[in-house]
Amino acid sequence: MLGGNLRARGGAFLVPLIAAATLFAASTAQAQKPIVVGASISETGPLAVDAAYHLKGIQLAVADANAHGGWLGRKLELKYYDDQSNPGTAVRLYTRLITDDKADLFVGPYSSGISQAVAPLMNKYEKATPMPGASLPAIFSGSNKWTFQLLPPATGYLDGMLPLMKSHGAHKVAILQAQLSFTLACGQARLEQAKKLGMDVVYSTTYAMPPPDFSSIALAIKAANPDGVVVCSYYPDAVGLAQALHRIGYAPKFFAETIGPAEDQFISALGPITNRIISNTSWWLSLKTSGNAGFIERYKAMFHEEPDYHVAATYSAMEVLGAAVKATKSLDQSKLRAWMATHEVPTVEGMFKAGPTGLSIGFAQYMFQIQNGKRLLIWPVADAQAKAEVPYTGQ
């Protein structure tokens, strides 16, 4: 009886003790539960090579964040699946990340094509998602609320080319576009720019992908006698057109192509005819953007190679997400979205700033030129590593 009483009294203390201990354990367990960042990466399929860089940018960002204790006191955990370069698969995988894996944060996939498929899904499920693989402006049009462009829009590719030409006294230009959504957007923008600058578009055509034989198109260009040729291209057509121009022995004074010349094997594929070809990029090793030097160093330490603009894009996407999470002190998607829509974030890619429909209005466009087998930034002049060399001679 006494023992029972004692036990009852002791028990009375135990309950709140246990409750407190449980609560304490729960809160620390909550604090230790990682923040899951979900993405779908094209590990296989035609986009695999570039998507590998896309992935590494996210991985570096996750490692960097965790080295500083994570966000909101919680470590980051990256969860990704292979979409096999297939938009339909990517949609299914993001659905899985949202509903099954219940990821907290999301990063968009590689390439405009797959981003275009995923964006409506993120809008439907109302998840604030940076899209570092989407240069296509159409994705960020009227009905888009929840996704943000983390690349400078394709309409700005080679923005500086026509002014550069004009400053050298050129006024006749040939503009070609591949029939891909982002190259068409780019080409359209260049045509409008030419009109605004009062330049004469002496030849213009689009061509389907996979690219046709360019020999007759090259002849048509030559017959039109432009001062410069601007091509909104992808990779194989950039190579094909350069080869075709060379084969008819014609070299325009100015020659610019998008995307292709930035790929590693462009120079080894074409050799000396790449000399003085100009191309576009959204990021460069020599830029003095926020944290760029450290970013490059840490990437080299982790992956033993130099980063490229894909890495910079995804790393910046994570920087933006991180800034939003820390500023709103939450993982609530509405709050994150509202913050990202109204704030600027300095990143390695430049200043992130989103227009009303998520379109990127902060990132700058750059141009580089291949000079004797090396790629050097030539525009804007303020960031340039070297002066643009003219004319293009095909040698």
Binding site: T44, R92, T95, R96, Q116, Y125, S143
Partner: protein, 591 residues
């Protein structure tokens, strides 16, 4: 002895097949239907209560099932292997998307309209594409898909290469239900083609297009209809997928890997069967989903290996393997439990002396070769005419001209006094001209019963067609073998089946092309027995091309001799056979 896998397989098949045949004739038992319905209800309901990911997976599965069944319609059932069915997927996707974006009609109705547009496209495209056969058709469809992708990339109204963005609405359950409907429709079409009497025409076209025309199947029409049917579900599915993803562009609309996957699924499950596409899709998508997660780099390679393995080792797919154990066997169409009692009386042909078949000045040239040179002859009511002649005399060409398989260069073919030279073969069959073929052209994948039923169908209701077919088989004494496939018949029995097919048409005249060739004496006697009383069977006249003169001389009323494209003798058999010109044409002159 050199045993190879195929022979062993066939041996096993023969051992296991016999007892199962009888059991398969009866219809599905109520218990089976009940179990199936319950399974479908569970399978249908399960994804609705689990995660959105499973729902999406199930939706994708149904998408592939619908596509696989539709591919099966044109490639499996009709035999026109297509490498470009994605063309209709894309057409439907674009049609639906445009309607969604520019009209206030709800999306599921738009998908139905998209399906209709897909069907109309198939009708139009079919006028060109269906003129091709075999490999040319397969690769022509592939080229068509490419052309459509380029057209879509250039057509700004439908978004060009940039594509279309549709209003984003989260309706996964509705899409799932709609996809079920599409898959069931596609399944239903397959079921209809493989279990209905009309479907026999399709399979007839697949197995023996020429013979099908000869028994009255309007082959062009059948192919067009099959082509249209094969386009409906893909077009609807394309629209649903575009809606579900809220975006569409040319590469995703005309994605060639879609074709590859669909072909693999249907092939793996069992091409040309009722359950094959469903089984193939189910197994490969679910297994694949897990398997590819571990070996994604090998996915397409494994699909390739699967295709090769299926074609080489088990061309019938899973269903083919199951068949060997007596499961999932195809039930013969419209076949009662036992051979029907023959209640149709034989009606003798009305008497008369009009001309049934006549050719006037018929000349047929193949390039520089003159096969028939101004031949005129007639077959009158009530008579059996034998047409003989040395090889190359033009006998088969004559038959081909009369039945419409060869166009006369000059002259005309008359049937019951009316010119029929411009009437297609199948219509001549309807009018009453029946023929057999020199080498029996029987539909190998149909049973004896169905081969006959195919001919008996035209213009009759189901019950009457069954009666007619039973009667025809009974007349040639093939009742006991009615459920065998023609491949298991002896040559003599196959000939009799051809004759049964001719009789099933309720013909006015039967043209026999070397019907005695390769027959044993007993088999010849069996055929002669049928031929002797053709008038009692309702046939007005019989004409036979023959080499084995001894077999037909005594039952022929008249004999006509052809030599190098010309008629050189005509008259009673005894007289003709003694004609020196005839003897010379066969034996040559001794000079």
């Amino acid at each position: 002895m050199n045993l190879d896998a195929r022979q062993v397989g066939q041996w096993i098949e023969r051992r296991l097949a016999a007892p199962a045949a009888a059991a398969s004739v009866s219809g599905p038992r109520p218990l089976t239907i009940g179990i199936l319905a319950a399974l479908i209800a569970c399978a249908g309901g399960a994804p609705l209560v689990s995660s959105a990911y499973i729902l999406q997976l199930a939706t994708d599965l149904l998408t592939f099932a619908a596509l696989a069944y539709s591919w099966n319609v044109i490639s499996g059932c009709t035999g026109y292997l297509s490498f470009g069915q994605v063309s209709f997927f894309g057409i439907g996707a674009y049609a639906t998307s445009i309607l969604v974006m520019h009209t206030a009609v709800p999306w599921y109705v738009d998908a139905v309209i998209g399906a209709v547009i897909g069907g109309v496209s198939a009708a139009l495209l079919g006028t060109i594409m269906l003129r091709l056969r075999g490999i040319m058709f397969a690769l022509g469809m592939l080229g068509l898909a490419r052309i459509l992708m380029v057209v879509a990339s250039n057509w700004n109204f439908i978004g060009g290469a940039a594509g279309l963005t549709l209003p984003a609405q989260l309706t996964p359950i509705a899409v799932y239900v709609a996809m079920w409907v599409a898959a069931l429709v596609a399944f239903g079409l397959n079921y209809f083609l493989l279990r209905s009497q009309w479907g026999l025409s399709v399979i007839g076209v697949r197995d023996e297009e020429v013979a099908a025309a000869a028994v009255g199947v309007p082959t062009s029409w059948v192919k067009t209809v099959a082509f249209i049917l094969s386009a409906l579900a893909p077009a609807a599915v394309g629209g649903l997928v575009a809606w579900n993803r809220s975006f569409l562009d040319p590469p995703s609309a005309f994605d060639p890997t879609l074709d590859l996957q669909v072909i693999v699924f249907a092939l793996f499950g069992g091409i040309g069967t009722v359950w094959g596409p469903a089984l193939g899709t189910l197994i490969l998508v679910i297994v694949g989903e897990q398997f590819w997660a571990y070996l994604p780099e090998l996915q397409l390679a494994l699909y390739g290996v699967l295709v090769i393995a299926v074609v080489l080792a088990f061309p019938g797919g899973i269903v083919g393997v199951a068949n060997r154990f007596g499961w999932l066997r195809r039930r013969p169409v419209a076949a009662p439990a036992v051979f029907p009692r023959v209640s149709r009386p034989s009606q003798p042909a009305p008497p008369g002396d009009d001309t049934v078949i006549e050719v006037r000045d018929l000349t047929v040239r193949f390039g520089g070769l003159v096969a028939l040179n101004g031949v005129s002859l007639a077959v009158r009511r009530g008579e059996m005419v034998s047409i003989i002649g040395a090889n190359g005399a033009g006998k088969t060409t004559l038959f081909n001209a009369v039945t419409g398989f060869v166009k006369p260069s000059e002259g005309g073919v008359y049937f019951q006094g009316k010119l029929v030279s411009d009437i297609p073969s199948h219509r001549r069959a309807h009018q009453g001209i029946a023929r057999t073929f020199q080498i029996p052209r029987l539909m190998e994948s149909l049973t004896v019963w169905e081969n006959t039923l195919l001919a008996a169908r035209h213009g009759k209701r189901r019950h009457a067609a069954v009666e007619q077919a039973a009667w025809a088989l009974h007349m040639v004494k093939l009742d006991s073998l009615w459920l065998e496939p023609p491949g298991r018949l002896s040559p003599g029995q196959q000939r009799r089946l051809e004759m049964a097919r001719a009789l099933a048409l309720d013909p006015t005249v039967i043209l026999l092309d070397e019907v005695m060739a390769g027959m044993t004496r007993d088999e010849q006697d069996e055929i002669r027995a049928v031929l002797r009383h053709f008038r009692d069977l309702g046939v007005a006249a019989v004409a036979g091309v023959e080499h084995i003169i001894s077999a037909i001389a005594d039952i022929s009323d008249r004999m006509i001799v052809l030599d190098r494209g010309r008629k050189i003798a005509e008259g009673k058999p005894e007289a003709v056979l003694r004609d020196p010109a005839v003897i010379e044409s066969y034996l040559g002159k001794v000079s």
